[in-house]
Amino acid sequence: MRSSNRPRKRRRADGFSVFAIVVALLVILFISSAIFSIALGGAPGFFENLRSQELRFALRLSVLTSTISTALVMLLALPTAYALTRTGMPLKRLSSLIIELTLSLPFILLGLALLIMFSSPLGKWLKAQGFAVVFSPAGIVMAHLLVNLPYAVRLVKTAFEDSDLRLEFIAETLGASRFRSFLSVLLPLCRSGIVSTAILTWSRAMGEFGATLMLVGITRMKTETLPGSIYLSISTGRNDAAMSTAVLMLLISGAALFLSQLAAGRRRGRKRVERR
């Protein structure tokens, strides 16, 4: 109580702090001007363009492929992160390095790698079995998978590393198998981290362009995702349609960011309670 009545001391502004604040304001101005230019440019014809069949197709395809790829990414990322943080998996360091390396590669290069893989005799055999990837919507999922998997593995791995190993061991001494301890202790403890990873992965998939372009190309009303739709619209001089799609993507990204912040906020809140 006493401390709240004490007058707050004002920190004297030093030269470096002023410099940092000026730079930060310029950075925020630069970023927000990009956001505002999309919002202002796309707002006028937004609702009209939203009714277009092409935009609706792109939205449906983006949501569908992003949802499927996110589910697959999470299904693969959880056991991979577990193996990298909780087991004596061989070549663990090399595996982590490969994941880190993939994170730093341009998406278009990852798409090229997939194109080479799926144009090989194995890819052709898969196509003959009915699993066509190149120039087909399944390729979009594949492109999302390769682009997002390393990212999700890294985020989940960080969440697992932050979780208290002793609690899982206690669960095992109480009779839980490794799998039960994973399900009943580790996953609930990392729930917020996992949920926010899934949301961010989905949001990244919605905006993925480079790898998709390289692997499946962009064919109108066939493999046209939202970013692909912007590209096609600009290429054909329909700038207002491109701007409306951009506004839609902005709204989707904003919603995803809000949800992931909500999940992260819950995690921080719980940690505060635990420390009490």
């Binding site: 002793r166 609690l167 061991f169 206690i170 095992e172 001494t173 609930p188 635990e274 009490r276």
Partner: protein, 238 residues
């Protein structure tokens, strides 16, 4: 009968090295590992539990290498200073966790947890989450969870050091009652001479990762030791 044997155990943690260290603990005994912070007490306790494989030597539980026994079959109860409760489960769910893993029926689980909560005076907080508990309530819950399956070996890592003096005294008496009622072997880690003397049948003094002396608890302050231990006990050799 020997419950626990530590044979030439060594464990490295960065620049810290525990051991080589050998120790035998009899069934039904209360054994205290006494030492300063950073002496390797927790590492030793976790090695006894088989949480990790040491860099050398081994730990035998009833004559069998602890690493060869699945954790759930070691008959262990483990309690940490910060309780180590599952934060996403209520007090009751924490206590019933082991019973659920052993596929006890709902009614049996309820009966057993109610018994334990009654025993430890925590029935009133059954629906609370660990984040809302006081230190004493948390330790009682952790003890009830560890004892739910009737372990043969209870390992406690500085269980009472974070408690206020009155609660600590109550919990120390509680530990003696638990030992009497459950008949389990107890190994606890402490840096408190008085606690070790009061509770333990034998005390092992661990300093700088080396076990320098093992002595009956009652004679802890009466015996003479090497200079390092004398200094730790705050006595002038001369």
């Amino acid at each position: 009968m020997k419950r626990l044997e530590v044979c030439d155990l060594t464990a490295r943690r960065g620049s810290f090295e525990l051991g080589p260290l050998s120790l035998e603990i009899e069934a039904g005994e209360i054994f205290a590992v006494l030492g300063r912070t950073g002496a390797g007490k927790t590492v030793l306790l976790e090695a006894m539990a088989g949480m990790f494989r040491g860099d050398g030597g081994r730990v035998l539980l009833d004559g069998q290498d602890v690493a060869d026994i699945p954790p759930g079959e070691r008959g262990l109860g483990l309690v940490y200073q910060d309780c180590g409760l599952f934060p996403h489960m209520t007090v009751r769910e924490n206590i019933e966790y082991g019973l659920r893993m052993r596929r006890w029926g709902r009614e049996e689980r309820r009966r057993r947890s109610a018994e334990l909560m009654e025993r430890f005076g925590i029935a009133g907080i059954a629906s609370q989450y660990p984040g809302t508990l006081s230190g004493g309530e948390g330790q009682r819950t952790a003890l009830a969870r560890a004892l739910a399956l009737g372990p043969e070996l209870l390992l406690l890592d500085e269980p009472f050091s974070a408690l206020d003096p009155a609660t600590r005294q109550g919990m120390q008496a509680e530990l003696l009652r638990i030992h009497e009622d459950f008949g389990c072997t107890v190994v606890f880690v402490t840096h408190d001479f008085a606690e070790a003397q009061l509770l333990a049948d034998r005390v092992g003094i661990l300093l700088g990762g080396r076990l320098l002396a093992v002595t009956p608890g009652a004679e802890l302050m009466e015996r003479r030791y090497c200079a390092e231990v004398e200094e730790f006990l705050g006595r002038d050799r001369n």
